[in-house]
Symmetry: C3
Subunit: 131 residues, 3 copies
């Protein structure tokens, strides 16, 4: 599998990784199939979102901070139970269709890495399956 390396700069942050996903598919002998984008962490997620208006990303992060506050009386000593819950709700991987040698995204869709416990050095795993 292929690995992307990311460096996040805030506690919660949404980073567009669509270009790296497209580059990976282009680098493979993968005309038709699927692409699995997988997050090997437990406090970050992979999701899909609008890639046009940046307000969507800031609205989403602020809403999630209010819904699941960092200090909501959690027991976990690391103080990031909120991050684990947010990551679980958004999911740790996303699968995409590959056709004509390209990742197929809807018109407004981008692939996003969702940091919920940064800043950290992070990795994303990419796996193509032909078929």
């Amino acid at each position: 599998m292929h690995q992307l390396k990311l460096k996040t700069t805030q506690r919660d942050q949404i980073i567009d990784i669509s270009p790296q996903c497209a580059d990976f598919v282009a680098s493979q002998d993968l005309t038709e199939g699927i692409l699995l984008v997988y997050c090997p962490h437990t406090t970050a997620a992979i999701s899909v979102n609008e890639n046009y208006d940046p307000d969507v990303k800031s609205d989403m992060l602020r809403f999630m901070r209010d819904l699941i506050p960092q200090n909501a009386g959690f027991d976990h000593a690391e103080g990031n139970s909120d991050s684990h819950i947010k990551a679980g709700l958004f999911n740790f991987s996303q699968a995409f269709i590959v056709a004509d040698g390209k990742i197929q995204l809807g018109q407004w869709q981008g692939v996003y890495f969702m940091e919920f416990d940064g800043p950290r050095h992070r990795t994303v795993w990419l796996k193509g399956m032909a078929g």
Copy 2:
């Protein structure tokens, strides 16, 4: 890949697309493998739910409307940040096992398109993988 066309009639709505998914698998030379059901939008989702009591769907939509109100002080000018968040939480695709030429669902499961910003014309992408 195959495309389903849907027309939703309400702002939020849960539509059973299990028959179309089953028909697609039956139309393919796909005996064993997986089926990826993918939503190419950013304000709608694909999920799985009980296909028996319609109260489950209305309970779910009402709870999500209360949890993430449309007018929760969001900045996004289109007024549908709530829809983006709901779609992200329910996920943009679901993968299913295909065995003996049929999509494998649990006894009470159906495949559902979840509209969070209708009414709109919507598309669902279906991709079978043999293996």
Copy 3:
């Protein structure tokens, strides 16, 4: 496909099924590919989480109980609409990369069955895809 059988003992409970997933991959002629872990129920989910501090699991379950109370004025006669919503938010399946004949998990990751309407006898379906 392969079936795991589980018996849950509480209404909500998070059970580590990583060993069974690893055993399944080892039992297959599957060197490179993906593993789909699928929950055929509508009130339980498959997710990924930290496999180290048990406080993460109890924090998560308590938060979800408070966020989506069992008696939140739901109509569904079975009294488990909260369970359906929680399962939908955490997702019914997870896909994992298989490389060198092993399921690839991040350092702190485990595969978890998430019960939201137990205690019950439950089944998990496992499907390997080579590629």
